[in-house]
Amino acid sequence: MGKKNHSDAGMHRINLSAWLVVGLLGASVLVTLYPFWLAATNAVKSPADYGANGPIALPQSFDLSGLLRFWHNVDFTLKLFNSALISGAVAAIAVLLSLLSAYAIGIGRIKGSRTVLFIVTMGMMVPQESLVYPLYYIMKSVGLFDTRTSVIIIFAVLQSAYGTYLLSAVLSTFPRELLEAAEIDGASRFEVLVHVVTPLLRPTLMVLATFFFIWTWNEFLLPLVLLISNDNQTVSVAMGTLNTQYTSDPTTTAAASLLGLAPTVLFFLIFQRTLTRGIAVGAVK
């Protein structure tokens, strides 16, 4: 109790036990990140170097042939393009769908808003496993099976359920004065959406788009089932279905891991603030 007179800095002295805690945490972070390091260092080793010095030694050689061979054999450029196209389209369409429906629910307060939101929330919980076969069958029937379009449509709808839920909550607290002022100025509902609501929501929409992009990039089950030809597959599906030709040779597996994780690590570095802080947006409402 006598501590009350101490200054703030004095209260939190960096003593031995503080160093111990930080040391332990630092070691845990290093252990967590070690697999990334392993993939990066072994991907650039020559097979001879790997054989002689093992996986945990630093590379004594710098050999990109494993990486290049893997890139060429799985046509990684095309896989990257497919993933980027699908994820980009889903992010854009899902944000648009979420914005439109949330506008009707949060601002328009259409009849039965609560019921609609309840159904949307239930829809968010439905496991993809219980949709996978009917979607596979429907896409086959309408001639969209094994097209990137099928995956784009499906994920745009699935992600927009979350977006609608989140944006409706945000829009239900939208300042009414702004809407009324725009109405007095004679703005139509569409003009209000485009010129009043959207600009104010922009940061939230960007966060949503980032998450939709990365979630779609990482999706596995539905793309695995719906995209069977090599030309349409995403990075995630290509990684999950690597054949033993690649997984039996250690430096090639390391190369595959490195190529698979590189794009998402890149997104992480670009969007780190959004990802580690924005994830809770709407998670707790």
Binding site: G108, S130, G240
Partner: protein
């Protein structure tokens, strides 16, 4: 004025509504309907009532799969939530207070990184580490610990433990990040006051951190438990459910029946059970939460 033309707002919800019905509601109903039929994916499904469900109750593999779901709940929900809570509290009220917010953010980012990997890529990476000729065995042999080397993912005794380890590695960042952003609501003065009153770190953890993070605990608990119940990609990539079904899960069994044995009706029965359990869990969590408030 607004009430005069309520119908025009309906136009805005129409695209989502069409998509929602076509992509979620209709497939959802079709899947439940298929569970009452015998169907190989072509021709007319044959209605067989509850026969698939009767078979499910006697299917030892399905029971084993749901038993493994419990292990996945442990490794994807329970352990990461507890570890994440302790880590978040340490980073927020211990590390940040002494070493600055930048240090705490750096640790948070480090623990979070595995969470952004595609599950399939995480599977390839860990599959390589655990493979008979992989990183772990090569290193153990180099250190003269040959007796410890084994086929980690191919041995029924170790396969599940390895998969569990990977799941904790993957999931920890999720709960940590949500808990840390939840703690941002908490006034640091609360901790300082408690500290001045002589509360130990553990007491502050119990009475401030855990108490303040209750909403986040519900959300993390619910979402990770649902994810564990429906886990597919990491198991598919790491073990395909083997060896000898030691790591199989309901999603994998359903996938197998849908696309390998073509017992679509039976696959639909398994996924309908998964959905029912998911909804039940969600209901229980929401009830618990509303009772708590």
């Amino acid at each position: 004025m607004e009430a005069a033309k309520p119908s025009s707002y309906l136009l805005y919800i129409l695209p989502s509504a069409i998509g929602f019905v076509g992509i979620i509601i209709i497939p959802f109903i079709l899947n439940i309907a298929a569970s009452f039929t015998q169907w190989r994916g072509v021709g007319i499904p044959k209605f067989i009532g509850l026969a698939n469900y009767a078979r499910l109750l006697k299917d030892e593999l399905v029971w084993e799969g749901f038993y493994h779901s419990l292990i996945f709940i442990l490794s994807m929900a329970v352990i990461p939530t507890i570890l994440g809570l302790i880590l978040a509290a340490l980073l927020f009220d211990y590390v940040a207070a002494r070493f600055g917010k930048t240090t705490a953010s750096f640790f948070r980012a480090g623990f979070y990184l595995p969470q952004i990997l595609p599950l399939a890529v995480a599977g390839v990476l860990w599959g390589w580490i655990f493979s008979p000729i992989g990183v772990l065995n090569t290193t153990l042999k180099a250190w003269g610990l040959d007796f410890l080397a084994r086929n980690w993912l191919g041995d029924p005794g170790t396969a599940m433990l390895c998969v569990m380890f990977v799941m904790v590695w993957l999931q920890l960042g999720y709960s940590l990040v949500i808990f840390m952003s939840g703690l941002a609501r908490v006034d640091p003065a609360l901790y300082e006051a408690a500290e001045l009153d002589g509360a130990t770190w553990f007491e502050r953890f119990r009475y401030i951190t855990v108490h303040m993070l209750k909403p986040e605990l519900f959300v993390v608990g619910l979402t990770t438990t649902i994810a564990a119940l429906n886990v597919f990609a990491p198991v598919f990539v790491l073990t395909k459910g083997g060896p000898n079904n030691a790591t199989t899960v309901p999603s994998l069994l359903a996938y197998y029946h849908f696309f390998t044995t073509n017992r679509v009706g039976y696959g639909a029965t398994i996924t309908t059970m998964q959905t029912a359990l998911t909804m039940l869990l969600a209901y229980v969590f929401v009830r618990l939460q509303s009772r708590d408030q």
